[in-house]
């Protein structure tokens, strides 16, 4: 009976219950019933029985499932909150159950690759823009869902769960997606802005992770606040140029999802990307750092992808290039710093 269906509010779906996924699920659960998806059966029963996910408290109203089909049937709007490395696979698992009426908003700040069969980043000779996918492009490529949006901004999960005031950007080509995201997430403590440049907002979130690693490295070297100010400002310029080369607009980079998130991450000792840089500066190697990290630092993969793109496109991005040398080519942090200080930046701002 349709009238009964319409009186019962639809569930909101959240895919992935990492730190950010759990925080968003809790915020959504304040206003609407929420169903989360977790791949492991243990996690599902942990959520359903003790209302925690890997020790993080979840709203008792949240139900969990390990079936993509069940989640897609129960929900019309889905939040994908999973790391970029597994994003493609999860989306492919969901694809057979998604319909054009589904609205999807993701909160993943990473990139994926679309390479011909058998190729990987190591073997491929050149990397063109068409082979780099933002997460919304993954969704559009793999599923029939078209009304897609992303969530980006300075949203440290820990602070969100404490209920500190914060804001985010929901970007989508579709006004209805932005409005729906605002309706579901907006609260006294949480402001939600809209932006129609989805690729620009996604890229802002992705590229700021590179600068965050560099910020961690500066902190690890104990270089102080002048150096940080210098890095943030040059980092922003680099983000603008890279974002433009990849199809984003300048405006999005200087908004909340760009500069806003950049400043937060560059000051946050809790940020995984910042930690990578910090420990590098303290003399650890990348392998040592990765061994002991629980969740992935997106910035590492981003540096690799962007560096390959730079070489193909023939453009320069000194911070990304020097990080690539430190992370993957055995350069030292000091050498990288020297390179940057010698790099001929001549104009302060050349994009407005």
């Amino acid at each position: 009976m349709p009238w009964r269906n319409s009186s019962k509010p639809k569930l909101v779906g959240v895919v992935g219950v990492g730190s950010f996924g759990a925080a968003i699920a809790n915020m959504l659960a304040e206003k609407n019933p929420v169903m989360v998806y977790a791949r492991k059966e243990e996690t599902v029963s942990e959520i359903n029985n003790s209302h925690t996910a890997a020790g993080r408290d979840l709203n008792p109203g949240i139900v969990a499932t390990s079936s993509p089909e069940e989640l897609c049937k129960a929900c019309e709007i889905l939040f994908f909150m999973i790391p970029s490395a597994g994003f493609m696979e999860v989306v492919k698992n969901f694809a057979p159950h998604l319909h054009p009426y589904h609205l999807i908003i993701h909160g993943t700040k990473g990139l994926s690759l679309n390479l011909p069969g058998g190729e990987s980043l190591e073997t491929v000779k050149s990397l063109r823009r068409s082979q780099i996918l933002t997460m919304s492009e993954v969704i559009l490529q793999e599923t029939v869902a078209v009304r897609v949006g992303c969530l980006a901004g300075p949203n440290i999960a820990k602070e969100l769960s404490l209920g500190h005031p914060a804001a985010t950007v929901i970007a989508s080509k579709y006004n209805e997606v932005i409005l729906e995201g605002q309706r579901l997430l907006r609260s006294e403590k949480f402001q939600v802005y809209g932006n129609s440049d989805i690729v620009g907002v996604e890229l802002s979130g992705v590229l700021k992770n590179i600068i965050a690693i560099a910020a961690g490295a500066l902190a690890g070297l104990g270089l102080g606040e002048n150096a940080k100010g210098l890095l943030i400002s040059r980092g922003m310029v680099e983000m603008v140029h890279l974002s433009k080369a990849l199809g984003g607009s300048v405006q999005s980079v200087i908004g909340l999802a760009g500069v806003g998130d950049l400043v937060t991450t560059c000051n946050s000792v809790d940020s995984r990307n910042f930690t990578v840089g910090y420990r590098l500066a303290k003399g650890e190697t990348l392998d040592q750092i990765l061994e002991t990290m629980e969740e992935v630092a997106e910035g590492i993969n981003t540096v690799r992808i962007i560096d390959a793109f730079l070489k193909t496109a023939g453009i320069r991005a000194p911070i990304t290039e020097s990080l690539h040398r430190v992370l993957f080519e055995g350069s030292s942090i000091e050498e990288a710093l020297q390179f940057l200080m010698k790099f001929p930046f001549s104009v302060d701002i050349d994009f407005v």
Partner: protein, 565 residues
């Protein structure tokens, strides 16, 4: 291994003319026009937010532009009472503004009445004057005339004018998903979207539609064509409605879109040239005019809103590419393109020989020499660009059946969201361009023109396009062997692309490379006074007109083939 083309004439899918949607529409013309006018009126009212001030402003803008148009750019086809009509509008507007004591509602009512008059006039002007008897006559004139000429040309001797040895279908090859389009035309409504290179296209497509046994499609033809009464007769006979490019005001555009949308909903198969105008550069359209395309999406949504969820309410988008060795208007088109993109960098050298031929001369030449045309019909898609199966169901990339209605749902109901539909129109436009590239058929002439121009470019790496086209033609000589090797290299890559389904080729391109080049050089822009590419006495490749060479080269633009050089 010559491929089999469709050479028989198909049985009509709807034998009785009375049942043709376009005939039904013609019968109900009066009511239909009235309905279009009313719907356009309410669309404009909602666009202006039912605000009398904004509506007044729009009315004034329209009045101003129309008066300007009448004064500066009058056409023979314009009705005699135009001046009078707009003077009345002016008087009516003045009267409302001077009645300062009138209430807001009263004013609104008065403005609305003026608006109604304007949309009624526009709707009447746009509507087609289709007559089935004229259609039949026109079709036989075209077919008969063309075939006679053809036989006169191919079979030697005077008597051959009465021979039936060759038919038009030997000359114009139809390939692709012809059965699907015929089949779907009986189930739902077709919107055909062809590439547009030449003025011949609309006549050609009209003829193809009739060969395929489908009832006539309606399409928007430039009002300028109706200036010539003989053209007006043919256009009306083919079911054309009129598009006046001079009128860019909101009221006209909304009325036009409403007409197109309502006609699709009525079940009339339609034809849009989505590039809007002939391709000036010779490239396959990459940016489409989305105005009329959006009406297909709107009509589909409206059908769902009205509860027509089965295939009878479904709209199918069918991309079509038309491939020529030769485009009659090429010299004029490419000059337009170069002067628009180059601005001060491009100046036309006065050269009487590069102007186009007269149409009559062209037709004779066309039939007396062997320049073939091929028309490829692409796979049908729904309005979201998903392919459809034999029953008209939409399929996702993995072949799962999906419901097009779902794209228009929010919270389980079909909703009207203009911003959403605008994005959908962009997506559809992109999909059509993608399909154009896939079904585009490479001819030998496209290959040689592409290679010729790219070699010249590679030899002058420091020059940009506008320097290149000013190179003295007599200085450009490409040794034959070099040219041949480059052709082979490009052709290999084309076959790679073909394997992936990203391009199509004509059968003549599977001969030996020498034959392909010979065929290509013979055909590329064959009727131009100055040929884009020929072999000189020493056997080297030379050009007589590098702008034209650029035009024909552009046909293979968009496949990243230039990276080979």
């Amino acid at each position: 291994m010559e491929e089999q083309y469709i050479k028989h004439r198909y049985e009509p899918i709807i034998p009785s003319k009375e049942e043709w949607p376009v005939v039904k529409l013609a019968r109900e013309r009066k009511e239909f026009v009235k309905k279009v006018a009313e719907l356009a009126e309410s669309r404009i009212l909602s666009l202006t937010g039912n605000n009398p001030d904004i509506l007044k402003e729009e009315l004034e803008t329209t009045l101003y532009r129309e008066k300007l148009r009448i004064k500066q750019n009058p056409w023979a086809v314009d009705p005699d009472d135009e001046r009078e009509f707009w003077s009345e509008v002016k008087a009516a507007l003045l009267q409302v503004t001077t009645e300062s004591h009138a209430s807001k509602a009263k004013k609104m009512e008065a403005y609305q009445e003026i608006l109604g008059k304007i949309t009624s006039r526009y709707a009447e002007e746009i509507a087609s004057n289709f007559k089935a008897s004229h259609y039949k006559f026109t079709r036989s004139v075209v077919t008969y005339g063309f075939s006679r000429l053809l036989n006169a040309a191919r079979v030697k001797g005077f008597k051959s004018i009465f021979s039936n040895q060759y038919t038009l279908q030997d000359k114009i090859q139809i390939t692709g998903q012809t059965d699907q389009i015929r089949d779907l035309a009986t189930k739902g409504t077709i919107v055909m979207v062809p590439t547009h290179f030449s003025n011949l296209d609309s006549i050609l497509i009209g003829w193809i539609i009739s060969v395929l046994g489908m009832p006539p499609f309606i399409y928007g033809a430039g009002l300028n064509l109706f200036n010539i009464s003989i053209f007006a007769y043919f256009m009306n006979a083919l079911g054309a409605y009129k598009v006046d490019r001079r009128k860019k005001n909101l009221m006209y555009l909304e009325t036009l879109k409403t007409y197109s949308k309502e006609a699709i909903q009525f079940g009339c198969h339609s034809l849009f040239f989505p590039g809007g105008t002939r391709s000036r550069s010779g490239m396959i359209e990459s940016k489409l005019k989305l105005g009329l395309l959006s009406t297909a999406i709107e009509a589909q949504r409206a059908n769902f809103q009205n509860g027509i969820n089965d295939v009878s309410g479904k709209i199918f988008i069918v991309p079509v590419t038309i491939n020529y060795h030769f485009v009659l208007e090429a010299p004029g088109l490419i000059q337009d393109y170069l002067s628009i993109t180059g601005q001060e960098r491009y100046y036309k050298e006065n050269d009487e020989f590069s102007t186009s031929y007269k149409i009559s001369k062209f037709l004779v030449k066309f039939f007396t020499k062997g320049s073939d045309i091929s028309v490829s019909v692409g796979r049908a898609m729904d309005v979201m660009g998903n392919f459809v199966d034999a029953d008209g169901n939409s399929l996702d990339k993995r072949g799962r059946i999906i419901d097009t209605r779902d794209y228009f749902l929010s919270e389980g109901k079909v909703t009207v969201d203009p911003q959403r539909e605008e994005e959908y129109t962009h997506m559809l436009g992109k999909r059509i361009v993608e399909e154009f590239h896939k079904i585009n058929r490479v001819f030998s002439s496209h290959l040689v023109a592409f290679v010729g121009f790219e070699l010249i470019k590679a030899k002058n790496p420091k020059l940009d396009l506008f320097d290149l086209i000013r190179l003295p033609e007599e200085d450009i000589v490409i040794p034959y062997e070099e040219f041949k090797n480059a052709c082979q290299m490009v052709l290999d890559q084309i076959f790679e692309l073909k394997k992936k389904g990203l391009i199509d080729t004509a059968p003549h391109i599977e001969r030996s490379m020498d034959e392909i080049i010979h065929h290509g050089l013979d055909n590329v822009g064959m009727y131009h006074a100055k040929r884009p590419l020929i072999r000189d006495k020493e056997g080297n490749i030379v050009t007589e007109d590098i702008s034209l060479l650029y035009f024909y080269h552009n046909r293979l633009h968009g496949y990243a083939l230039e990276k080979l050089f």
